[in-house]
């Protein structure tokens, strides 16, 4: 490569070259029109999002897009010791179908994983130890006597039933989420 060769720009373009150029020009024109049509709503969405980003307080934007209110975040941080563990729990299963986005049976598992990711990344580094559980058995594996008083669960169970997996729990905070509710529990004592 020590003697760069000039690009063969001066060669006369043949029929194939002209045909290819024609195809390319038509294809690019067609795709540009199609993309412009699709870009109009995208532009409107982006403009609205940018406007919200410039005007809304950060806490409001975080709550709207993640479902995690400042009150819930504050409650977790208030009650969780530095070496504590946080578990995002939903008892509705779906783990086996989670990775198939078209399978509604996986939706509960996808929801708890999403909430886990949001919570973990938003709250890091306090706490550092965050897990999720998609059914009671999975939650039980996260518990144990050494976690008594040092483990909190964000519980997506709907209805008024108390959390009773693996031992005794204390309700710390209740958070409305859409039409449902999230409850924050402290693991008090292993059974």
């Amino acid at each position: 490569m020590n003697a760069p060769t000039p690009e063969p720009r001066s060669e006369p373009a043949g029929r194939a070259a002209r045909a290819f150029a024609a195809v390319a020009i038509v294809a690019v024109a067609v795709w540009l029109v199609a993309l412009i049509v699709r870009a109009v709503p995208a532009l409107a969405t982006a403009t609205a999002a940018a406007a919200r980003g410039a005007t809304e307080p950060a806490a409001a934007r975080i709550q709207r897009s993640s479902g995690l209110s400042p009150a819930l975040r504050a409650a977790i941080r208030e009650h969780l010791p530095a070496d504590g563990r946080l578990v995002l729990y939903s008892p509705y299963g779906g783990a086996a179908f989670e990775l198939d986005a078209t399978d509604p049976r996986g939706e509960p598992a996808r929801q708890v994983r999403t909430l886990f990711e949001r919570c973990k990344n938003l709250l890091y580094p306090h706490p550092r130890d965050v897990h999720f559980a998609r059914d009671a058995a999975e939650l039980a594996t996260r518990l144990g006597p050494r976690w008594a008083g040092r483990l909190l669960a964000v519980d997506g169970t709907q209805g008024g039933a108390e959390l009773a997996v693996g031992g005794r729990w204390q309700l710390l905070h209740t958070e409305p989420l859409g039409t449902g509710v999230l409850r924050l529990w402290r693991f008090q004592e292993a059974r």
Partner: protein, 455 residues
């Protein structure tokens, strides 16, 4: 004020490095800001890593680029000015198009301020790594990657985010602005691409091809987030543009620019190693046919790339971070084992996925199809100098990406839905540059010569 300083630092460092290399703004006014951004982010990343190693507290990170700027400034001021009259005429209309396109990109980047950087790969991989560089460095860094599916990914993106976190108040209070330097790499990608296309085509066709990028939904999503795929694309476009400029005019400054582009891409995401392997294989093939005779001096600009690869290897070894492709995944199997088990089912599915992407009017991936068609209809031009090497490297890289999906441990549909268009997009802007080079002798023949300026 701190946000302005955070964004100005890479631009200043990049400007000084380009000047030290003899690349002046007046030679290539359109591309220059994008090149400066790339070069500056590389230097800033190095400065932040050095600061971490020296245990500089995050509150004092602002001092890190200063020493580097003084050193570079001393070198840059001693550098001879570029030859007069070497300005590349982009044209006022085209410059206005680039400015409008950059503003469009900035709007999509600003739309990211609506959602915190806590979901998907940008939250789980890139931003989390950046935060742990500041709050768990160095002892807890490896442990903090426990939920990171790709802990072995390289560090430039997290280092840039760590810089912004450090200047703006830390991971606990900053959840949006930490993306900015990464997002601006997306803006730089559009600018660098537009300049590379304009160099080879008249203004109208160059603008038409360049417009495919900001209209692409994948690119719009990359602008909004802190994913590293746009950074890879930027590095590859600058590398390809620099390589072609060098082959056209023998200007060694362009070859150094190409080297910086490769280093930037390699420090951004692991797919670059695949592209480099493809390029190396292509170079060996061309050399075997006597079509390529690199000298040691030609290879010197690869020094930054070698440094980046060595740095990433040492980093991952130091923290015990492994790739899921080589067995660090729930199956415990390497991608080669999985390939042998899955190829019969996955190869047809991947061929169908590629065909769907290339023909989809909702994406700009049609460029790959056009490039394939161009290679078939214009084999002499595609296989001749200087296009043969990048053509082979790009198609080898594209094929390699598909092979990785064959050996993925994840369910194929899930893996494709969450990454296929985004990952293949890494090669799309470079494919646009190659398409322009392939069309230049036909589309550019009737217009005025537009590539007179050296870099």
């Amino acid at each position: 004020m701190n946000l302005v300083a955070a964004a100005l630092a890479p631009l200043l460092l990049g400007a000084l490095l380009l000047r030290a290399l003899g690349l002046r703004w007046r030679n290539e006014p359109v591309a220059w800001p994008a090149w400066a951004w790339l070069a500056g982010c590389l230097l800033l990343g190095a400065a932040v890593q050095l600061g971490l190693e020296l245990r500089v507290p995050p509150a004092s990170f602002w001092t890190l680029p200063l020493g580097l700027a003084v050193l570079l400034g001393a070198v840059a001021l001693r550098r001879r000015p570029a030859a007069p009259g070497a300005r590349a005429p982009a044209g006022a209309g085209f410059t206005a198009f680039v400015v409008a396109g950059a503003l469009w990109c900035l709007l999509f980047a600003a739309s990211g301020m609506d959602r915190p950087c806590i979901e998907g790969d940008e939250g789980n991989i890139w931003s989390l790594k950046a935060k742990s560089l500041l709050v768990d460095w160095p002892d807890g860094f490896a442990l903090a990657q426990v939920h990171n599916l790709h802990p072995d990914y390289p560090q430039l993106n997290p280092l840039l985010q760590a810089w912004t976190f450090a200047l703006l108040g830390g991971p606990d209070s900053v959840h949006f602005e930490n993306r900015w330097l990464v997002q601006l790499a997306g803006v730089a990608l559009f600018v660098a691409l537009a300049a590379a296309l304009r160099r080879r085509l008249p203004a109208l066709p160059a603008a038409a091809l360049a417009a495919l990028l900001p209209l692409s939904p994948v690119f719009q999503e990359l602008l909004r987030t802190a994913y590293a795929d746009g950074m890879v694309a930027l590095g590859l476009v600058v590398a390809l543009d620099g390589f072609l400029r060098w082959r056209e005019h023998g200007d060694r400054r362009a070859l150094w620019l190409a080297g910086l582009g490769l280093a930037f891409a390699a420090w951004s995401k692991n797919e670059t190693m695949l592209y480099l392997a493809s390029a190396a294989a292509a170079a060996l093939l061309l050399r075997a046919f006597g079509r390529l005779r690199p000298t040691l001096r030609d290879l010197a600009p690869l020094a930054p790339l070698a440094l980046v690869v060595a740095n990433t290897t040492l980093w991952n070894g130091r923290f015990g971070l492994h790739s899921d492709l080589f067995g660090a995944n729930p199956t415990g199997k390497s991608m080669f084992v999985l390939m042998a088990q899955q190829w019969q089912e996955r190869v047809p599915a991947l061929a169908a996925e590629f065909a769907a992407a290339v023909t989809s009017p909702a994406q700009a991936h049609v460029v790959f199809g056009l490039l394939l068609l161009g290679a078939l209809l214009r084999p002499r031009r595609a296989s001749g100098p200087p296009l043969a090497l990048p053509f082979l490297a790009l198609f080898g890289g594209l094929l390699g990406l598909h092979v990785v999906y064959v050996g993925s441990f994840l369910p194929l549909r899930f893996h494709l839905d969450t990454s296929y268009l985004r990952v293949t997009f890494q090669l799309l802007p470079a494919a646009l540059v190659l398409l322009a080079a392939l069309l230049a002798d036909v589309v550019g023949a009737r217009g005025a010569r537009h590539d007179g300026g050296r870099p």
